[in-house]
Subunit: 144 residues, 2 copies
């Protein structure tokens, strides 16, 4: 019984093939996926089912929507993946994860100062990555 199965079970939702396939596609991806991306990984799933499943996943805290560049993208929530944010290089389009305590601390400070309770936040960065800054396109030589 996977985490996914368990979560679905406590929600009293059925574990079907489309749902498993979509969850796996998101789980395998190292980057957030757009609706189109997901469809490529799930050729045999009806587009309507995709929409309905993603909506259900979002409502039940399995998937969250993030916005990078122009389109909506989907990725697993912190329940299934460590909490992080994204940095997109506008030169090479590469998306990397960023997880730093500074952001979370800043949110705490801000919420106390303004007297509100923050339940969710969006934090995404864009710019030029270290590889593109140095003009080195062969990033395998550097690390990664």
């Amino acid at each position: 019984m996977t985490d996914f199965d368990a979560h679905m079970h406590t929600l009293k939702l059925r574990v079907t093939n489309p749902r498993k396939t979509i969850f796996e596609a998101l789980s395998d991806a190292s980057e957030p996926l757009s609706i189109g991306d997901i469809q490529k990984h799930c050729r045999d799933i009806d587009r309507v089912t995709l929409y309905r499943t993603l909506e259900m996943f979002t409502k039940n805290n399995i998937v969250k929507i993030i916005h990078i560049g122009w389109k909506k993208q989907y990725e697993l929530t912190d329940l299934f993946q460590p909490h992080h944010h994204h940095f997109r290089c506008t030169t090479c389009q590469d998306i990397s994860h960023v997880s730093d305590s500074e952001v979370e601390e800043a949110i705490d400070t801000i919420s106390i100062r303004h007297g509100f309770t923050v339940t969710s936040h969006q934090f995404e960065l864009e710019g030029t990555c270290r590889y593109c800054l140095t003009g080195n396109t062969n990033r395998e030589l550097l690390n990664k």
Copy 2:
């Protein structure tokens, strides 16, 4: 000659009525506006012109797109408005501005640590505002 006129002039773009009207709608609004919102303020402007103008404004750093809740919303860039972020109360739907140095400092720290240069960032918060937390709906009595 307004800031807008001057900016358009340096970009060698024409200052037309639709462009002025759309800019004013965004300038008058205290909150970011969706396409639909803008249209309500600009009844006589063709929807196609709206799309084309917003795209042009975005490319030329007059307007930026932000994502609050589900839909895309548009607001003037820091060129025409002080830099800030948003907090949306999921109870009363009210959107308020947040401008704190903590976020910008966190971004500096993070960009140095990761070795990339950040040219733009998205930072939006959601939660419960001070008025809804206290169950006080008559917020005029508190301050605002």
